[in-house]
């Protein structure tokens, strides 16, 4: 089997398991809905104040649901005793990493679309003009988030207090991605074109390249035992 095919098999397996069991997706959708309630209660009904903090709140929604989704990446394997199966997968283990990453990206894309939809309905944001730019920013930031998240999820799968440790490790590393994403979203929602936030987009792209490279190169060391 070629490298790409092995990665695809892992991603396909994860998506199939998720489609049949819906263990993560159902909880995530419900969680996203609850987040919306919390934001609404915390911010109050003042429309103007809401508009100012909306980009930050939107990303808070993405990151919180992302943390839940990513943190479970390898727990599924442990709960169902499939960890050894992954270890025995032939060839370079980075195929497993890329497969898991692809599965996570698909899952996060579903959740993020949903959260964005909920925001449009409940917070009355006008997406029409910002949409194409927003897709680029969200896609790049999600890739960065998932690239490190998948790596760290494998790392914390075997650790005591993993539910606490995973976000504690991931959040400081993701500061550049979050800052760039929030700032770019802010400008886009204010009606500026994608060109006006080119420096943030470049930073996101650079972060993606760095994180993906480290993930591919070091995943072997994490999956050893």
């Amino acid at each position: 089997m070629s490298f790409a095919r092995r990665a695809l098999v892992v991603a396909w397996k994860d998506l199939l398991v998720e489609r049949r069991s819906k263990e993560t997706l159902n909880a995530l959708i419900f969680f996203a809905l609850l987040l919306l309630f919390v934001f609404q209660f915390a911010l109050g009904p003042d429309r103007e104040r809401l508009a100012g903090v909306l980009p930050g709140v939107l990303w808070l929604g993405f990151i919180l649901s992302g943390l839940l989704a990513l943190g479970r990446t390898f727990l599924v394997e442990r709960e169902h005793d499939c960890w050894e199966g992954l270890l025995l997968a032939p060839g370079d283990k980075s195929a497993v990493y890329l497969g898991k990453l692809a599965g996570n990206l698909a899952l996060m894309a579903v959740v993020e679309t949903l959260v964005l939809g909920l925001f449009v309905v409940f917070f009355d944001i006008d997406l029409a003009r910002a949409f194409p730019g927003l897709v680029v920013v969200v896609a790049l930031a999600t890739l960065g988030l998932a690239a490190v998240g998948t790596l760290f999820a494998a790392m914390t799968a075997h650790v005591r207090a993993r539910e606490v440790l995973f976000p504690v490790l991931l959040l400081p590393v993701q500061v550049p991605v979050l800052l760039a994403a929030v700032k770019a979203t802010e400008a886009l929602l204010a009606g500026e074109p994608l060109g006006a936030v080119a420096h943030w987009v470049k930073l996101l792209a650079a972060a993606d390249v760095v994180y993906l490279a480290v993930g591919v190169l070091t995943f072997d060391a994490i999956l050893e035992g």
Binding site: F152, A161, V210
Partner: protein, 215 residues
């Protein structure tokens, strides 16, 4: 060897203290508070040095799998976190009378704060993985990710905001202050670097003894 380093750092620190209070002039507008600047930049320098060593030792560990490289990374991270904390504390003490606030979300302050929590997380990970060999592998990966993340953190936070004065020692054109300020700073820089070497050497020895006792 380690003992010599210890005495050397003690002597250098004492000399640095004498120079900061005796040789360096009293700053006109800030007064004696400015003397913190003979300690604060050296602390920050050692912190960056320490995390650089963590990254190098982490790569060395993943390539060679030598337990010594892991112990060096471990020791250097601990000392780095300590010095980062001290740099933040001394900066705060200086900032209160000078800027009028203990803390501000300026670019450099923010990026150092992120550095601090990132490596606190690193030490946390070390503490929670029971298997030594596994802890070494995981921490090596985290050490590399953290180091590569630093330039990204730097740029993102810099574009976000900035207030901290630009570096006075390592900048294009070189140092422009007087020798009475430069020498006390350089002596302290050397003193804290030797202190770093001493603490790391001591900690590595302790970690080796621990590993041998458990083996």
């Amino acid at each position: 060897m380690v003992r010599t380093l210890g005495w050397l750092s003690a002597a250098a620190l004492a000399l640095g203290l004498v120079m900061a209070f005796g040789v360096a002039p009293r700053e006109v507008s800030q007064g004696n508070v400015q003397r913190i600047m003979y300690v604060h930049p050296p602390l920050a320098w050692v912190a960056y040095l320490a995390f650089g060593v963590v990254a190098a030792a982490s790569i060395a560990y993943l390539v060679r799998r030598a337990p010594g490289a892991d112990r060096l990374a471990h020791a250097s991270a601990e000392v780095g976190v300590l010095f980062t904390g001290l740099a933040i504390a001394t900066g705060s003490i200086w900032g209160k009378p000078t800027w009028g606030t203990w803390w501000t979300w300026d670019a450099r302050l923010t990026s150092v704060a992120i550095l601090f929590v990132m490596y606190l997380g690193y030490l946390l990970l070390r503490g929670t993985v029971e298997d030594r060999e596994r802890a070494a592998r995981y921490c090596a990966v985290l050490g590399i990710v953290a180091a590569l993340d630093m330039p990204l953190v730097h740029f993102s936070v810099y574009w976000w905001r900035t207030l901290h004065q630009p570096p006075s020692l390592m900048k294009p054109g070189g140092f422009t202050g007087s020798a009475a300020i430069l020498w006390p700073l350089l002596v302290n820089l050397a003193a804290f670097t030797v202190l770093y070497a001493y603490l790391v050497a001591k900690r590595v020895r302790l970690l080796r003894a621990e590993a041998e006792a458990l083996a």
